[in-house]
């Protein structure tokens, strides 16, 4: 069993510097779990604690049923792919991949077999004798993966492996990684700051901010039902629109419009959230209409984005590319109130 459990895990450096606060996540066996969040949110630290590169201040980390808090990194049966690949520059590709197996005192033919196998999966056969500096970025990354694969670990840890690749390669490698995950049938724990990578690759996503876990769920869950303002604003491009409103019963009153809420909430100051695609150029069924003074129009061929003001709030809308709008116009947009979210103005937790 190679599930991973973070049980009330805390990482504290000094009294006022706590990088990971009470992290609780259950990662299932064979799952592809993505830890995502802005820089400094603690995701890398959480990963490194699992790897054994950082000590755990409080709490437990378990791999399967085994508590690994005090187990040395090399005995945890994990493999890690570093952001910079960390290939040994003076060793050939073959030797780089063979190194961990040599450390485990494996027999030479077993090492040979495993390295050739991994090399085949990753298409590294023509490069086995080369040194890292003679490889491209994408090839180096595959060697780093190969070095992890040969160990047949219980868990793969990947720390922002795509950030050093150019955009096109990133897209290709994303697909290859997902295929690899399916083929190897092992738990993958993947850290990134890029929410697009998180959404496309993860079976589930764990979103962190400032050391605190915000939400864990499938990409769909997290997108459609964000647990709080941070998650709602972090996931999805362009970002969700946030408009301060005052609620009474089932109505939310913004500076430039009124929206009907799908359920009744206590009165008070709230934040209304709706994604750009929740706006259309057709009037809304329940009369929630926004009059937007359009500042900028972006036409991307398949989409059209309008940036402008509704009342005193900045709003982004994604509309049909055939809609004719120009900067300076006032556009009437209907709001689909089935896909709106309401957040408490203070706690930022979502009502719905």
């Amino acid at each position: 069993m190679s599930s991973v459990t973070y049980d009330h895990v805390v990482k504290r450096y000094t009294a006022d510097v706590t990088v990971v606060k009470d992290l609780n996540v259950d990662i299932k066996d064979k799952e592809f779990m993505v830890l995502v969040g802005p820089s400094g949110c603690g995701k890398s630290t959480a990963l490194r604690m699992l790897a054994g590169l950082e000590t755990i201040t409080e709490g437990q980390i378990r791999i399967g049923d085994r508590v690994v808090n005090n187990v040395a990194a090399k005995d945890r049966d994990i493999a890690m792919v570093f952001q910079s690949y960390a290939l040994y520059p003076h060793m050939s590709v073959f030797d780089n991949m063979a190194f961990p197996l040599q450390m485990a005192h494996m027999k030479k033919d077993e090492i040979d077999r495993r390295v050739k196998n991994a090399s085949k999966i990753l298409g590294l056969d023509p490069f086995l004798k080369r040194k890292p500096r003679a490889l491209s970025g994408g090839q180096r990354q595959r060697v780093a993966l190969g070095r992890a694969i040969v160990r047949s670990p219980k868990v793969f840890l990947l720390d922002e492996p795509l950030s050093n690749l150019d955009a096109k390669l990133r897209g290709q490698t994303r697909i290859e990684l997902q295929k690899l995950h399916r083929e190897l049938e092992t738990t993958f724990i993947y850290v990134t700051h890029d929410q697009v990578e998180a959404m496309t690759m993860g079976d589930r996503i764990a979103i962190m901010n400032a050391g605190i876990l915000q939400q864990v769920g499938t990409p769909g869950d997290v997108y459609d039902h964000p647990a709080n303002l941070f998650v709602a604003g972090f996931i999805g491009t362009p970002t969700m629109n946030f408009v301060p409103v005052t609620t009474t019963d089932s109505t939310a009153k913004a500076s430039g419009f009124e929206a009907r809420l799908p359920q009744s909430v206590p009165a008070g100051k709230r934040t209304l959230g709706f994604r750009p695609e929740a706006l259309t150029d057709k009037p809304s069924a329940d009369g929630s209409t926004l009059n937007m003074k359009v500042d900028v129009v972006e036409r991307l061929g398949s989409d059209q984005y309008l940036y402008g003001q509704v009342g005193s709030d900045q709003v982004t809308a994604r509309v049909d590319p055939r809609m004719k709008v120009a900067p300076g116009d006032t556009a009437q947009l209907g709001l689909d109130t089935r896909s709106i979210h309401l957040f408490d103005a203070e706690t930022e937790a979502a009502f719905f």
Binding site: L53, K74, M80, S84, A86, F99, A104, R147
Partner: protein
């Protein structure tokens, strides 16, 4: 002699202001100045080199620049100096001094440098700082106590050590002294270099199950060859060219004196009125010049003290 290396044309071009006339003018003046300075700079050395090949009688009556009119050339000075002084022996002695005095501090320093770079221990930074501080201590400050310890406590005088009959023993006090004196720089240079190696290389090795010894011998050392080469060359040249430390710890006896001491003796005992001085001087310069010219790259790296990346 290293041939003019590649300076990217774009970088050179980027350093000139626009306007082709001023550019052309600058280029001419620039080259004249540069070459002029360089020639002037090498003049002293050339003067001596030429003098060493001139018949002695002529060097006393005319300047070396007259060497071509008429052509004056002789090997006499060199054959004389090899026959009369102990130069050959001193040449050998210099190797006997320089090689161990390089090997010892470099090896001890490498192990210590690794600890300073990648191990945590109390007062590490302070000790390292103290080590760097010791770099500037005038060696004169240490001679008297060490010498007195050698002579009074250990009875390690050159004559005593020679009397044991063990070949090479008279140089041991000097080797150890050079090791002690050379360690601060060795540790400083190597520690800086080791520290600059990417840390995730070590983390990866840790996860791969490599222990301290494996990391040192299989990862750090192979990657540190340029730095270690620089250090070896730097230390070797420093010891080879050293006069004072050899003078203090080994003295001028011909069986043990290295080239520098031998040469200094010639200067004081024979003075300028001798045909041996010029050739002896050049004789002493042969090895360092060869080492320097063929391995200059590493020597310069040594000067830039481990802060050079790649």
């Amino acid at each position: 002699m290293t041939v003019a290396a590649a300076a990217q044309p774009s970088a050179v071009a980027a350093r000139f202001s626009p306007g082709w006339i001023s550019q052309l003018l600058q280029r001419y003046i620039l080259h004249i100045v540069v070459i002029g300075l360089t020639v002037g700079w090498t003049l002293p050395t050339i003067g001596l080199l030429v003098s060493s090949f001139r018949p002695f009688a002529l060097t006393k009556t005319s300047g070396w620049w007259t060497v071509l009119t008429p052509l004056q050339f002789t090997f006499q000075n060199y054959t004389d100096v090899l026959a009369q002084s102990n130069l050959g022996q001193a040449f050998f002695n210099s190797f006997m001094v320089s090689i161990p005095a390089t090997v010892i501090p470099v090896t001890i320093g490498a192990f210590a440098a690794y600890a300073f770079a990648w191990m945590k221990f109390p007062a590490r930074n302070w000790i390292f700082l103290a080590l760097v501080g010791l770099l500037a201590v005038p060696l004169q400050l240490t001679f008297i106590p060490v010498l007195s310890f050698y002579v009074n406590q250990l009875h390690w005088t050159t004559s005593n050590l020679e009397a044991t009959g063990i070949p090479g023993l008279p140089w041991v006090p000097l080797w150890l002294a050079h090791a002690g004196y050379g360690l601060p720089f060795s540790i400083y240079l190597l520690a800086n270099f080791f520290r600059a190696l990417p840390s995730d290389l070590f983390e990866s090795a840790e996860i791969d199950g490599a222990g301290t010894l494996t990391v040192f011998f299989r990862i750090i050392l192979p990657l540190s060859v340029p730095a270690i080469a620089s250090l070896v060359i730097f230390q070797f040249l420093w010891v080879w060219n050293d006069l004072l430390v050899a003078l203090i710890y080994v003295g001028g006896a011909p069986e043990v004196a290295p080239l520098t001491v031998n040469l200094a003796d010639l200067t004081t005992s024979l003075g300028q009125g001798s045909n041996l001085l010029t050739s002896a001087a050049f004789f002493s310069m042969v090895v360092p010049l060869i080492v320097f010219l063929s391995l200059q790259r590493y020597f310069v790296r040594g000067i830039l003290a481990g802060s050079v990346k790649g």
